[in-house]
């Protein structure tokens, strides 16, 4: 692994005061993404700033009922926090379906938001990749793309966003708090991750020198929640397709619904077209299937990942069914 400088910071302003204007510097919290990619020489920081000791490890309920999660709360702590388990089960389930016991103990909330794609071409510096080296081309489009996205792709990049947690957060609704050299700002979680478009190297709305300090979850939504993750083996694998569903019923009709998808899209994906189909409609299998169709209306399949359209639809239908059952108690 390449050599780098290491600097530890104890306060947030210290962390963001460096005015980091190029990507020669990287923050490290849990390290599960950064060190993996530095060993592969995919990320090449000259300096690593240790933010793991910043006071960002609390989970607190705000007066407006929202839940403020420090960026350094580990995935395990977040998944197993009493309030999260009670009020945001879809997020807890999503977190616990990701990675492994050990990795979840290390990985931070902010780091999970910053997770990089698992595209093997991205992970191998010998291969062309527009995300890693803009302008070199996308190896996956003409290569093997079984694990790649069918939603939100572009001719420049079809890499899947790998996070489960982010999918749970999109469904639950959340806001990111960013601290930067120019002060603090908030970004809606859904707007944070960017579509690849013609600049797949830009993955998110984080400005140079900025740091994610908190994720604020919307006030809890009532109703039934479920996260369903489909993959080859039963555990310790990234999603081929996943769905986070929150369903509110008014009698037999769906009064409110939130749907988010993982494993099939280039960013944590809000399935709003599917939500629109369902709103006010009876919670029936037929309607679930129509919603699933709507979710993948704009899907584009490549040579190996066409099955993900079917699988993604199935994830939606089953997640809706189980979330509806939970809503009925």
């Amino acid at each position: 692994m390449r050599a780098f400088e290491l600097e530890s910071v104890e306060a947030i302003d210290q962390a963001v005061s460096h005015r980091r204007v190029h990507d020669g510097e990287a923050f490290i919290a849990g390290g599960t993404t950064l060190l993996d990619l530095v060993k592969l020489d995919v990320m090449q920081p000259e300096k690593v700033v240790d933010v793991s000791r910043l006071p960002l490890k609390r989970i607190e309920t705000l007066e407006d009922g929202r839940l403020k999660v420090g960026a350094l709360v580990s995935n395990t702590e977040l998944a197993k926090h009493e309030i999260v388990m009670r009020d945001y089960p879809v997020l807890s389930e999503a977190l616990l379906s990701g990675a492994s016991t050990g990795l979840r103990n290390m990985a931070s909330t902010g780091g999970n938001v910053m997770q990089r794609t698992r595209c093997p071409y991205f992970r191998d510096p010998a291969m062309p990749c527009n995300k890693r080296e803009p302008g070199t081309g996308c190896s996956a489009i003409e290569g093997i793309n079984r694990n790649h996205a069918v939603l939100g792709t572009s001719e420049h990049c079809i890499a899947t966003h790998p996070s489960d947690m982010c999918v749970g957060m999109v469904a639950a609704g959340a806001t990111l708090v960013l601290e930067g050299p120019d002060g603090q700002r908030e970004v809606a979680f859904e707007d944070y991750h960017l579509l690849p478009g013609d600049s797949p190297e830009r993955e998110h709305d984080l400005k140079p020198g900025e740091l994610i300090t908190h994720v604020i979850l919307d006030a809890p939504r009532s109703g039934g929640q479920h996260y369903l993750k489909l993959r080859d083996r039963a555990s310790y694998e990234f999603a081929l397709a996943s769905c986070a569903a929150i369903v509110n019923l008014d009698g037999d009709n769906i009064s409110e619904v939130r749907l988010a998808l993982g494993g099939v899209a280039t960013k944590p994906w809000r399935a709003d077209a599917a939500e629109a189909v369902l709103k006010g409609q009876p919670a029936t299998q037929e309607n679930f299937e129509q919603a699933a169709e709507a979710a993948f209306n704009d899907a584009v399949a490549y040579s190996h990942n066409g099955f993900k359209i079917t699988l993604g639809k199935q994830a939606i239908v089953r997640a809706l069914r189980d979330a509806t059952a939970a809503a009925r108690g």
Partner: protein, 197 residues
């Protein structure tokens, strides 16, 4: 100079020990360059003053500098679990941790597992159960399996049913496929450690 081969140390199964050579190999992971920093690591209850490079990985420091070869490298990328150790009581993949960031942490490896939990060396209930249930074949993933198992058993948030345990153990790949015996051993050890729970 010949490698130091330890003579047989008593009756029973004997093999030349790797440990004998460790003392002669300071700073193997870091080199002796000026780009090192001085840190203190607490491993298995002992404090070690070390010089390590900023990019030195905890797994490599444990093995190459401290000679704690019981913790294994299976992939170096968080994809197998063989390097699992305890940091502050939690199971973690030591291949994805910087050594420099572990100052002040309590690190436990397989060599200190039993004593860290108040048992005689080598006699942690998980170790005893792995022996009894033959919960390994080649033994390479075994330290990681046991470190995860010990942490999982003492974690109140993980239920003792088969599904929960198998899921919690799934980050530790055993290519020999000894999963059945691993599960049996973990359930047995859990019963012993948690009583009727």
């Amino acid at each position: 100079m010949a490698p130091v081969i330890r003579p047989s140390t008593g009756v029973g199964f004997c093999t030349p020990g790797a440990q004998a050579e460790i003392a002669e190999r300071p700073n193997a992971a870091s080199g002796e360059h000026s780009d090192t920093r001085r840190i203190t690591l607490t491993v298995n209850g002992e404090q070690h003053d070390l010089h390590v490079a900023p990019n030195a990985v905890l797994l490599d420091v444990l093995r190459e500098q401290l000679g704690l070869f019981g913790t294994k490298k299976g992939c170096d990328h968080g994809q197998c679990g063989a390097c699992t150790v305890h940091v502050n009581g939690r199971s973690v993949n030591s291949c994805l941790m910087l050594a420099c960031l572990q100052e002040g942490a309590e690190i436990v490896t397989i060599e200190g597992l039993a004593e860290s939990a108040g048992f005689e060396q080598g006699h942690h209930p998980v170790q005893a159960a792995f022996l009894e249930h033959d919960a390994y074949q080649c033994g390479y993933c075994t330290a990681g399996q046991m470190m995860t198992a010990a942490a999982v058993i003492s974690d109140d948030s993980i239920d003792g049913d088969e599904t929960s345990l198998r899921e919690a153990l799934s980050g530790n790949i055993c290519r020999c496929g000894a999963y059945k015996n691993i599960l049996d051993a973990v359930q047995s050890a859990r019963g012993k450690m948690r009583g009727g729970q």
